[in-house]
Symmetry: C2
Subunit: 392 residues, 2 copies
């Protein structure tokens, strides 16, 4: 493998040479005699007898000789044997492991697999996720005018989009009214559809009419039904085992009963559903990535519950650093009021600050941990200069 | 809107109260008399007469009174009017702008749109991208045994995956042999398919048989055909205008002639094709995000061409910082040999260091700019502690 140019005997140096033949990519190579050169295309195999390549920029084409043969002037000699030649195996050695199990197969990995001819590889099955909204007050987003106490169903479209974003197969179970009958029918549909993860929203608070909790207590094993966190206190998790029967293997469905408040449901989705999906999809290290960020404003902490505070992270020069210095410090900017129905606080949020339950106000400039909930590679970045490294 | 609990007249304080009625989510509220309370579910509307809510945790259910009416003990009084009540409009004010044009519509944004009943919004059309590999030496990845000089087509599968990752509609144009006829046929297929962006690989070096360059010079306007960068020197960009005719509007197709080396094609895809796709898809700020990172090893710079050096970024505590301090400094770890055919150097790379063309070796610990080419939220993170802010 080599660059476009002329295959040469490196000891021949500069001068005028006859172009003996063309060594083209995909064709078998010829044999080169000293004192002559061979045209060679990118990817062409080095002809026998040649030991280096001179790039085309370092040559000039000459008029053909009296015998009609092509001729070329080499202006800059090869530095020695092997110049501009890539040895077979310099990319990937025979027998080398090109990918480890448990990694994501992205574009570069697809290319690697194609290179080594691995056109069929074992991957984890795509998890199947279903989303169900519940509540008598919840109406379709298409509803023009809301009746008293009614709210449009933000959760379902949002969680369906988030679920699709994980690569999962997704089923929309609609809105169930607050009756045990409707909920049981939806649960049965999820079982029939062989759903791996069922997400419900609403119906998990402590109220007498919180039917999702009642349903799960009746049909599944509830592992927790209340979490000391803000938002997301009513978060409920259950596992429903479907016994096998003739022709139907036993299955297990994870059920996340997310709170009805849209922000609570989105935060708890990121903190609990996403890692579960990643685990089912075979990720070696599921879960949100933790970074550290400096706060840009004072934050009053909740004395009773640890809070997941929605912020937008930006890159910034560390405070006090000299003008020319650039560094990777992250600054957390709040996304507005944090009450749990305020979906505006999720807009453009790319991280959740992990704030402890302490009776105090956290001053601006504090460094706190943050969990990434969105792709930072698309986040806003203030104009920063590219590298200008002096030749000192 | 309020939490599960009892709607009260806040001045009534603690004590035993009759539960006058239930104010359920989705039903019209009743009217509350002082000295009584009303059960209220999450999302229920505050009854007339009530001015606060006491959460269910701060109450005890009592045996019914002699009249058979439900009774409850309030153990912790509301702090005053408005306690645990969310005013109408506290989430989104009437007339407020919830989203600006030019942003990505992610899950949270879908939820916001559903909340305000915006079930139909204008979005940019998905760009249509086609991928074509070229070269007599290039064979399908399914080829078991390679002939002399043959290589399996890594580029096409890789670029198709990368193109799909941008959300674009994708067409696979296969492999074209090094003949003008085959290339012209493929170009015509792309025009017929109304492709917005055509990506080719190979055939753009300086060689006499670099047919893609010849093809583009004949049929399109070549804007550049060589770039001073490493890898990616042969990168070629052209625009092909298809004149309108009866029943067919004029169209414009962007053509990126990427180099045939897999790493060169992947790097130039990220640096040039991706921002073009983002622009076509309506991104307000297309392009890779620039961060700054500290190098973990010495890097020998190329004296002639600026280099895009493939690295994996990790988070690390800044060097010299005390043990307890955590910060967002990024450390760049090389992904192995950087020669342009070595696809292993792309595996797990999430950034490209921007290295200037200078005759020097960059010492380990230098801070250089880096362009993000992958989602950092999935990148490896060393175990870092969550926030533990003392109550000082």
């Amino acid at each position: 493998m080599c660059q476009d140019g002329y295959a040469v005997v490196s000891s021949d140096g500069v001068g005028k040479f006859e172009v003996a033949f063309e060594a083209l990519a995909g064709s078998a190579p010829g044999k080169l005699q000293p004192g002559t050169v061979a045209y060679i295309g990118t990817g062409g195999a080095l002809p026998e007898g040649a030991d280096a390549v001179v790039q085309i920029e370092n040559t000039d084409t000459l008029p053909p000789g009296p015998d009609g043969k092509k001729r070329v002037r080499i202006n800059k000699a090869a530095r020695g044997p092997g110049d501009d030649v890539r040895a077979v195996g310099s990319d990937i050695r025979a027998g080398a492991v090109v990918l480890q199990a448990g990694g994501l197969v992205g574009a570069a990995e697809v290319g690697l697999l194609a290179t080594v001819g691995a056109t069929s590889v074992q991957v984890h099955q795509t998890p199947h996720m279903a989303v169900l909204s519940t509540g008598d007050e919840v109406v379709e987003p298409t509803t023009k005018t809301l009746g008293p106490g009614q709210i449009r169903d933000a959760n379902r479209a949002m969680l369906l989009a988030a679920a699709r974003g994980t690569g999962a197969q997704v089923t929309d179970l609609g809105i169930a009214r607050d009756t045990v009958g409707q909920l049981e029918a939806c649960l049965e549909r999820a079982i029939q559809a062989k759903v791996d993860v069922l997400i419900t929203t609403g119906g998990v608070s402590m109220g007498a009419r919180d039917f999702v909790k009642l349903l799960l207590e009746r049909h599944a094993t509830v592992h927790f039904g209340k979490v000391k966190m803000k938002p997301g206190k009513p978060l409920t998790f259950a596992i429903l085992d479907t016994p096998g029967s003739a022709g139907r293997p036993s299955r297990c469905m994870l059920v996340f009963g997310l709170p009805g408040n849209p922000v609570s449901s989105m935060v708890t989705f990121n903190l609990t559903v996403l890692p579960a999906i990643q685990r089912l999809a075979g990720w070696k290290e599921p879960g949100l990535r933790r970074v550290h960020a400096r706060t840009s404003a004072a934050i009053r902490l909740d004395p009773e519950r640890p809070e997941y505070h929605r912020v937008t992270l930006h890159w910034a020069r560390p405070a006090g650093a000299p003008e020319g210095q650039v560094g990777g410090e992250l600054v957390a900017v709040g996304t507005g009021g944090q009450i749990s129905s305020r979906l505006l606080s999720m807009r453009s949020a790319n991280a959740l600050l992990e704030l402890p339950a302490v009776e105090k106000t956290l001053p601006a400039g504090s460094v706190v941990s943050a969990l990434l909930i969105s792709d930072l590679s698309g986040m806003p970045v203030p104009e920063t200069p590219a590298s200008t490294i002096s030749a000192s």
